[in-house]
Amino acid sequence: MQYNAMSMPQTPNAVATCKAAVEAGALRIALSGRLDADGAATVWDEAVRAARGHSGELIVDCGELEYCDGAGAAVLIELQRIAMQREQSVRIERFPEEYQRLLNLFELRHFLQDEKVEPQATNFVVDIGRATANLLTDLYNGVSYRGELAVELWRALRHPRQTRWGEALLLAEKAGANAMPLVALIGFLLGLILAFQAGAFMKEYGAELYVANLVGLSLLRELGPLMSAIILAGRTGSAFAAEIGTMKVNEELDALHTMGVNPVRYLVVPRVIAAVCVMPFLVMFANLFGLIGGGVVVLSFDYPLITYYNQLFTSVAAMDLSDLLTGMFKAVVFGLLVSAVGCLRGLQTKSGASAVGDAATSAVVTGIVLIAIWDGIFTALFYALDI
């Protein structure tokens, strides 16, 4: 604002002045010049301070006014308001006839209270109560949403004709094929870094070849699904939330409801199917490039590629199918979690443009938290079951 004030072009005749003087116990504030927004800005503080600093009668003399618009009227109303609040008598004198109509548009009694800017003032206790209530409704909505989604997914499988496969395919392309380069890049870096950091150390014990197993196992079982799911949350979960959120803001969801279309079936099911279907491919892709990254490091230790391959797939410590399958299982579950929560956040969007942004942010955050929690659960579970 300060900046704006300085960048305003000041027309030479735009000056308004304010003179305050006490005459026989009454304060006379004389306003002159052009009382437009700029003029009001120049005299406002001075006039208000003078009025507040006086406790007798107040006279506002407008005889020298050249021009007055809504901002000027605001000055007069503010002065009268100050006087009324302190029960002083107040008089406006010599107000130019031509602007009288403007002043008549505003009834003073409407402005006696200060403006309420914020929707509602809240205090600490109310905030805590509201947060708790929000949390509980969120939980409740989450449960009922999960139930609805499960029913609709089951329906989609039983009545495949009614499912929007074309839409799902398009979404799968966006969520899957278009994400391949990013997944490949991250996967490659992950394999490279793991192998390099561990290899430098394991070399001292002559165990550098086991880098292959380290990279292979951790990628297949943990890092591949985890990284892919986080990428899915960032790229696709947020997009789902923003798309559906925008539809909510535009009342398109209401339109669906009135047409008898269930938004979960129409919007959420294709998205969840798309995400669940692409996740295994994304994870495979991440694993493949991770292994290539590991291979590059092993090659740099002067082993031939076939040794790396044998170490990965045929040695005693080689990975087997169960490693791949646990990873794939996680991938599918993460895909389900991320897409479902992305859509849920979209459906929960409140009104306004910023709400869409909030929904997208919340979709990513909740998605990643869910991934972390479930990854922990799975790791413990598989360890206990010895899979």
């Binding site: 704006n4 004030a5 927004a37 009001a40 901002a71 503010e78 402005f111 403006e115 929707p119 306004g352």
Partner: protein
């Protein structure tokens, strides 16, 4: 009093090479309520958006108080922008701000008034359109008609001499719409604001319009210009008479 405030000369508008309007010439005089009419999709909003400088004309020029907004930049552009207020067809209130904050926004942008002064002025403008009690409400919490009125209040925040309204009464019931017309007439009389209004409502046209121009999709130009009652009774164009008499078919 018959001074020209907006001048449009040989104006042409095109979106990506597709001409929507061509060869328009007219002027708006200070203090009048000038109405732009025409069927849906004939380019009324397009004309309005060009007049307020959102798009540059494909040919010709539009002068507001003698200044060409399409080619003005920096301070010069700011100075022209300050001369007028706009109400968009959809209202375009900022959803994350309360009504008072919405109206206060142009004041924050263009003036150096203290905060309390801006609050009071914003409150006064809202009171002017009958929303004095709703300062703290969010746009999503009020009705469509109230949103339109709030949008007018925001357009008037800086006391412009010129207000552009795109379909102020569309989607409103006849009573609210008549109230809005009354507001326009009142503002035009008491504050001497010049209005450029796009509307479909026949009742509104008779209530507010000083002069109208009528656009036509086929000729991409103006088919009629004048006072509404004149056009109704004396236009040579049967289609125009039909519009003003609200008949379904052109008289034989």
């Amino acid at each position: 009093m018959n001074e020209t405030i907006i001048q449009v000369r040989n104006f042409k508008a095109a979106y990506e090479g597709r001409t929507v309007l061509d060869g328009l010439n007219f002027e708006v005089r200070r203090g009048e309520v000038f109405v732009i009419l025409g069927g849906s999709g004939c380019g009324k909003s397009t004309l309005l958006k060009h007049m307020i400088g959102l798009y540059p004309p494909a040919a010709g020029e539009i002068l507001i108080k003698g200044k060409d907004i399409a080619h003005a930049e920096g301070e010069e552009r700011r100075a022209i922008l300050r001369e007028f207020g706009v109400m968009y067809q959809s209202g375009a209130l900022f959803g994350s701000l309360s009504l008072l904050e919405n109206v206060r926004m142009p004041l924050e942008e263009f003036t150096s008034l203290p905060r309390e002064a801006m609050n009071l002025i914003a409150h006064m403008k809202l009171a002017l359109v009958g929303l004095g009690e709703f300062c703290g409400y969010m746009p999503s919490e009020i009705s469509g008609g109230m949103q339109k009125r709030a949008a007018i209040a925001r357009a008037m925040a800086l006391d412009p001499e010129l207000l552009f309204l795109d379909e102020p009464s569309a989607g409103l019931d006849p009573i609210t719409s008549a109230e809005l017309d009354e507001l326009i007439v009142r503002l035009s009389r008491s504050l001497k604001i010049t209005f450029v209004v796009v509307t479909h409502e026949l009742a509104s046209i008779y209530a507010i319009a000083g002069r109208v121009i009528m656009l036509d999709k086929r000729t991409k130009g103006i088919v009629a210009e004048g006072r509404p009652d004149e056009l109704r009774d004396r236009s040579e164009n049967p289609w125009v008479r039909q519009f003003f008499n609200r008949e379904a078919k052109a008289p034989a």
